[in-house]
Subunit: 311 residues, 3 copies
């Protein structure tokens, strides 16, 4: 894998994705083998937006590789409030760290920031832009539970605003996957995303539905996302729509026994807690997979840049 920075999952070829997932699987199988691999390495965390799981799992990943982090902390207590540009902030912090992780509310900020630094920069979400490490952990979870080839996946919920969903959908066009998109009409995939998927997909199917019912029995994976209350003009409208895209054990009666249910979390009411302890549920495992996948990414980027000894 030859990249200076990780900005979008679109930059990753099928072979790049497989390199990351294979490395993650190796690490998952024997984490002790890499426990000191990047001792002395410091990862700079620049989170210009709140985040729990992405930040914690990057921090965990770096520490599980023997390294440590330096954290810019909350924006309110940083120099940003004094009017410093992002370009200046990253150039300063690059002097403290061997690699940087950036989350920023503005789309395109990761690309811009990466042009100012010499250390690897990993995009942890830039507004409505990209979130490639989430996509990679999603792919890792799918591969582990259902395989990435000859896959039938349903992606359900808010498909209009979710960058997670768009990134995943694009990435899946690299594989032999049939994608079903299930949402209320008002939260359908943007037309340009559908167009791009058809362009990229060389024939892999992309179909849209308003109801889960017809498509459920054929699914290997059901990827559920949160429908946000604030997208709807009034509460009753939200309740009506959201209710149709929630799943419980009764919903799943018509599903395959091998169905894998995923969710990027946090969830609110989309998945009934009664599913948590069943074989369907893979969403906590999915969150946990953030660690080996980010360990793999850090290892690949730090090693390519001379930050890790050869094994």
């Amino acid at each position: 894998m030859r990249h200076d920075h990780l900005i979008t999952s679109k930059q990753l070829s099928r072979s790049d994705v497989e390199t990351v997932l294979d490395r993650a699987a190796e690490i998952d199988a024997d984490p002790v083998a890499v426990a000191d691999r990047h001792a002395g390495t410091l990862l700079g965390l620049l989170f210009f937006e709140p985040s729990t799981r992405t930040k914690m799992s990057f921090e965990t990943a770096m520490k599980r590789l023997g390294g440590d982090v330096v954290d810019m902390g909350a924006v309110e207590s940083s120099s940003v409030t004094k009017g410093e540009t992002l370009a200046d902030t990253v150039r300063v912090i690059e002097g403290y760290a061997d690699a940087l992780v950036l989350r920023h509310p503005k789309q395109g900020s990761a690309t811009m920031a990466s042009e100012f630094v010499d250390v690897p920069l990993l995009n942890a979400g830039d507004g409505a832009g990209h979130h490639p490490t989430q996509t990679l952990l999603d792919l890792y979870t799918i591969r582990k539970n259902a395989g990435l080839d000859d896959l039938t996946i349903g992606i359900m919920g808010d498909l209009k605003y979710g960058r997670t969903v768009h990134s995943l959908a694009y990435a899946l066009t690299n594989f032999d996957a049939r994608q079903h998109f299930i949402s209320p009409e008002s939260l359908q995939l943007p037309r340009e995303v559908v167009y791009d998927l058809h362009q990229a997909g060389n024939g892999s199917g992309v179909r849209e539905h308003e109801s889960l019912e017809d498509v459920l029995p054929s699914l290997d994976v059901l990827y559920v996302t949160r429908i946000q209350r604030e997208r709807f003009p009034d509460e009753s409208e939200y309740q009506k729509v959201a209710g149709e895209y929630q799943i419980d054990l009764e919903t799943l009666e018509r599903a395959s026994d091998d169905l894998t249910v995923m969710h990027p979390l946090p969830r609110v009411d989309e998945i009934a807690p009664e599913i948590d302890d069943t074989e369907y549920a893979a969403y906590f495992e999915q969150a946990h997979n953030g660690v080996p996948v980010r360990m793999a990414l850090l290892d690949l980027f730090l090693s390519a840049n001379g930050g890790g000894a050869d094994e």
Copy 2:
């Protein structure tokens, strides 16, 4: 000691308490011996309420054992604000860490959370509920300064709202301790706590007083707590009451030369600074004792769960 989690000091037998205090004493005597004992271990910090000393001393304890922490950070910048349940939050973070420390404003939350995780969970305070690690460091400080047997202790200040006081009082019923409770009538121990102490105490004395004067000469330990301004309808009423439960060198003229003065900190006016440099003062030592006691607890819980090599 055979426990999966540490939720309340009530779950600890006299023998459990002694196991913890003995281990803390060993560590205190030779901290270098355990400096790498839990290398590679990550402790997850979930503080849903502000805290300085409890959080810092847990963090210090884990690092003094060679491990590290991953911190959820402030609630305002976490997924909790998106409506995630505590059960979901702990199940996600359990994937990052080898043990969890939880502080939460709601009583009972530690018990609930512990039912969802497989790693050891240590309660660092759940509202008006329990705060067992504070109790253990209090007991450790008492044992070191005055001994836990044939002990006469006075506990003074706000006895109505202080969970620290209730936990300590319960724990002391395991030992041969005479307990004197000194407070204004409006801030007396709740009746159910007095009842429980009598039930648990098999004869060990529990007595209540409105004034320190009579009981002071007999005390080995005086445990002072803060009386909070906001408990009183007006400032003058507060000043009058609080003034009677503050101590200075003049107050202590009638005390034993061996008296040990404790306070869970932070203090405001309860203990005059002139006492700080005397032999009476044990409150800074008490705060510092949080480190070896929490090291002992982490060591015991992590070792029982396979997290530490045998020595």
Copy 3:
């Protein structure tokens, strides 16, 4: 170097400064040699005011020496909000750490706090008081780029309120430096600072100017600081004044080719981005120099106090 604490750059003799800078240069040349030198050491961070680069570079410095930090966190989530005094806070946290770094908004607080603790305390800025580690990294940057002897330096911008500037100016009186101060009349150096510089300077020149123009060709170093909008009664007045103290490539046409441009950062408009990639620019290097200089300081203070093994 024989000091218990680092409170002000005024306490440092020329020989002390050279000891620190020499050690920083050694570390800079071979950071791997000290990568484990203070393994097991914990540095307590007490930042009562927001800070990005000072805090991150102290944290980086401690970690690059093999140690770790324990951070009090934001004031809002600390015991300080319960009315605890600074003297109590530092005495508690001293029990967790082998050395302390303090930033506090009140002038004199570092001196006061240092009287209550036995571990080394390093002042990271106390209000309008001192910020000695900034001064040392400035001196290190000057020495590396232009040398500290036979130096002609211009210090420009807000000279009235900047503690950075006052500290640096005092420290330069130890060396053979000609200092030119360039500012609008309303933001001139305070008269007592000028007086002190003349007293301390044993003949080294101190001159004040309203314009950069005349003095620019003679400068080895130009140290630019930010002029703050809020110092001016109205926006147009600010724009007019600030505009005269901003530099771009055109401004520098009359400068020496060897001119070094410094800035404590964050900058807003004082230095045009077009200068960033020229040989003049040393301000990002200056920020990065915070790491080896603070490593040197930590190493010297921790070793003097028995915290580090001899090499």
